[in-house]
Structures are given as C-alpha cells and as structure tokens.
Symmetry: C2
Subunit: 247 residues, 2 copies
DNA sequence: ACAAAAGTGTTACGATTACACCCATGC
DNA sequence: GCATGGGTGTAATCGTAACACTTTTGT
C-alpha cells in the first residue's frame, strides 16, 4: 500500500450484468434501453451503482439481476467476470464497473425492468457481429462475457444453469450446441456427460411430450468442475492466430 | 444504471499484485512487510491506491510492479485477475482492490521496495499451506492467483513469462514442474511444446554450461493460447470433490 | 573414451469418433 | 405397426505415455 501523504482517488463503483439465456435454441443476452441521460435511449447491459454504504458487490449484482428479470427462485448462476475502469468509459466521471456473468433458464418473453424503459433479449450473434450498438464499453463487456461462457462450458458444470430444475440429456446437449454454435453427436454426448462424475444426477423418469420414448430426467450434480472436460470442437479449417489474452 | 435520486457510494480503489517467479526451482510469491498502520509489520501483497485522478487501473498495476521490483525491461506478464470488495476487508473503510497476476523471470535476490519496509520471495507452498499470515484478505487473493497461474499454464503461453528472453526447452519444463509440483517426461514434453504451434520459436544455437550437449534456444512465440494444450497430470488417486467455483 | 544432456523412433494403450443397432413409448 | 426420439455396442482412429536408443558436446 502507498503512503497517505496524498489523498487517494475515490471512484464510483457499478456492477454490470451479462445475463445469458437460451431462447428458441439461440443464445441471447439481456439488454435494456437506457432511460437516464448518459446514452439515453441507447441499449446497454443491465447494471447500476452500489446501493448504500456497505452493500457487497455480489449482493448488488444479485439485486440488479432481480430488478431486471422476474427470476423466481435462486436458480441463477452468478459469478464475477472482470473489472472495467478505463478513465474515459463513462462521461459522468471515474466510474469503475465490476462486470458479472449470469446464466438463467429460459425466461418469460418481454421483461420490464423497474427503471429501464425497455428490456429485450438480443441474440448473442447480433452483439458479437457488432449489429447492435451499446452504451459505454458494454460491447466489449458483453463480448467478453459470451466468450467466457463458451469457455466455461467446457470445464465447468455451467451448462446446467441454462436448464430448468430437471432436464433431459438432449436438452443439455441443446445448450452446448446453442452456446458453441456447433452440432454434436447425440450418442457420444450422452456418454460424455455421464462420464463426468458429479455433473448430473438422475431425477426420476421423465415425461416430455416430444413424441418418442420419454427421456430420463436429471438435475445438476454436486461437481462444479468437469473431469474429463467436454472439449469444444475446433471451428474446422478456419485458423485464428489472433486471439488477445491480456486485458 | 440506477436513477440518481440518491447519491451513489464512492469507494477507494487499490491494485494488489500476486507476483510470481521461480527461485531455485520453487514457485515463489513476492510479499512485503507493511510499513504503514493498518496491519503494520505484517506481510502483505504489494499494491496501493490509484495514483492521481485519471490513472488507469492497469497502469497503476504496472507502476506498483516497478516500484516493488527492479524490473529492467518490459519483459513482465501482467493481467487482471479478480476484484475483491468485501465491506470488511479493510479497516480504513470501503476499499475495493483489483487484484492482478504478474509473472517475472527469476529476479535478483532481496528486493527493497520504496515504501515497503522489506520485501521477500516466499515459497508458494508456504502461502498455500497457511504457513504465513497475510494482511487484509491477501491470503485469499494470493491463493487465487497461484491457482490461476497453474491453470493458465495448461492453456496459455504463460510459462514463457517465467523464463528469460531466450531459454531451452529443459528450462521451460522446469517451469511447468515447479508451478505444478509434478515431474514430466523430458522427451514427451519436448515434442508437446513443439507441437503447440506458435508457442516457442527458435532463437539460435545455445550455449549453456551444463556439461552435456548444448540445448537449442527458443523465445516466446506469437501465440498466447496453446493448442493442443499441455494437460496437467492428475494428482494421482487423491480425489478432490470440493472445489469452489463461484466467488 | 566417457559422462551428461539433447533429441528421435517406436510400441502399447486409452480416449474419441463415427455409425450401426436395439429399446421404449405415443398415435 | 410405425414413427419418433432414447439409449447401447463396437471397430477404426487419433493422441498420449513410456521407454529404448541415437546424437552432440565438455572434460
């Protein structure tokens, strides 16, 4: 720590959320239209300042999550992602944002937030391709969040957070296919997730109205790290030599 | 973002550094003895408040790194790790710390910082086992940093940051063995690192006074992500079912 | 010549893939 | 019965581990 001869700079702290879900087989991000003035009317990630003195960062993220979504129970995955504090990122002054990644099962269609004028699920593809413009540095944050979700799917049990309490293995596979944007072999996927001990545990015989033989149902197991991991197939011949690492 | 009906809380922002290096084949962390009053005389991670209005977080981390170590050139790896902001973590008030991970080649023995009374390289093992007490929540931060380094060694070219400008493959192997605490087969390691294209590139024939045939020398390649990755051998039969994920 | 360390070939094994096949249910 | 989707068996293939072996230098 530094000597206190000069007074240290204080900053405003916000939490921003990259909330991901699956809608009609597509990975989507929750975006809100800003009702307040910096970037009023523009799309942005949900988020906000710390509430009162003493609110924990993770609590603030949970609070913003509840405000923006109609999340019933505590069945949401929420974890810290990275901190963005570039001096020019907010016109109001020095605002540092601790970005979080949230994963939720498919949520009711249009979600009306408390202070946000409007909220909408936007396909992750549109964000990645730059098709939508976002306020602040939220494009960067959203991109980082999506990429992090893709990576964590390989090594952690994150995929179950996209599903409801109980789910079939086919549903779990759809999560992987949607987030990665690839197709997987049903039979091999079946055995791989079973091989990862503690990933999923049986939860009764299933009743699903899909027509064929009913699938067995499972729920999330105790393990958070997957071994062996589910390796994401390489995007075929397209070599990508440029991938930044340090931020 | 929230409406401005109430004034948002401002916090003090610090950067803390988990600086890792190899000394005599052991992974070590740089710790300083605090000369100022919260936890005066106790060991802590190097770090400090943001300097003046407008200093970028990453710049502050670089500055602290230079102050605490005698780093000559820019050959240091520095990346953001995680943010720690629990309300009780600093007795002076609400202080939020953006922790960074730094990797450096073996540095001169005793490093005297500018404001820290004393600085010392402490074996990572001692920190992990709880053998040394650290100020604030720095034990947690240091543990997280060491674990992150271990993981990143598998999938990124981080290991080269532990080496000097040029290095032999055997030296690179020592990095892996020290950080992971395992032994690796020399021959297979040799081919694995060569197979990861862009990881290391030749840098002239080597001269080392080790007695045998001189090793070829290499330098860090352009690639930051390793494919195929160098998988860390499982720690034998010892099952570990409890590994936290969310923070 | 010998020791020490670098680098190469080769085989055995385990994991992964691709795909053929059988099972259970609704209509 | 037959369409539909769930679940199992198996051979070809790939990557890896293990280790014998050759090469190059210093003394």
């Amino acid at each position: 720590m530094q000597a206190d001869s000069w007074s240290p700079t204080s900053v405003l702290l916000t939490v921003d959320l990259v909330i991901l879900t699956l809608r009609e087989g597509r990975l989507c991000v929750l975006l809100v239209e800003r009702g307040e003035d910096p970037f009023r009317g523009m799309l942005a990630l949900p988020g906000g300042f710390l509430n009162h003195d003493g609110e924990e960062i993770l609590d603030a993220a949970h609070r913003e999550l509840s405000e923006e979504t109609a999340l019933t129970s505590g069945r949401v995955h929420l974890e810290q992602m990275a901190t963005y504090g570039d001096s020019g990122r907010d016109p109001r002054g020095r605002v540092v944002s601790v970005a979080h990644l949230a994963i939720a099962p498919g949520l009711p269609d249009p979600v009306a937030g408390t202070d946000a004028t409007d909220a909408a699920w936007v396909p992750a593809e549109s964000v990645l391709s730059g098709g939508v413009e976002l306020a602040f540095d939220h494009h960067r944050i959203a991109t980082d969040g999506i990429e992090q979700a893709r990576t964590k799917l390989e090594f952690s049990a994150l995929a179950t957070a996209f599903c409801r309490e109980t789910f079939s293995i086919a549903e779990l596979q759809q999560v992987y296919e949607a987030v990665w944007g690839t197709e997987l072999d049903t039979r091999n996927f079946y055995r791989k997730v079973q091989a990862a001990k503690g990933f999923i545990v049986p939860a009764g015989s299933g009743r699903r109205d899909t027509g064929g033989r009913p699938a067995r149902l499972y729920k999330a197991g105790p393990q958070t790290v997957l071994f062996p991991p589910l390796i994401r197939p390489a995007p075929s011949t397209t070599e990508e030599t440029t991938r930044g690492e340090e931020q």
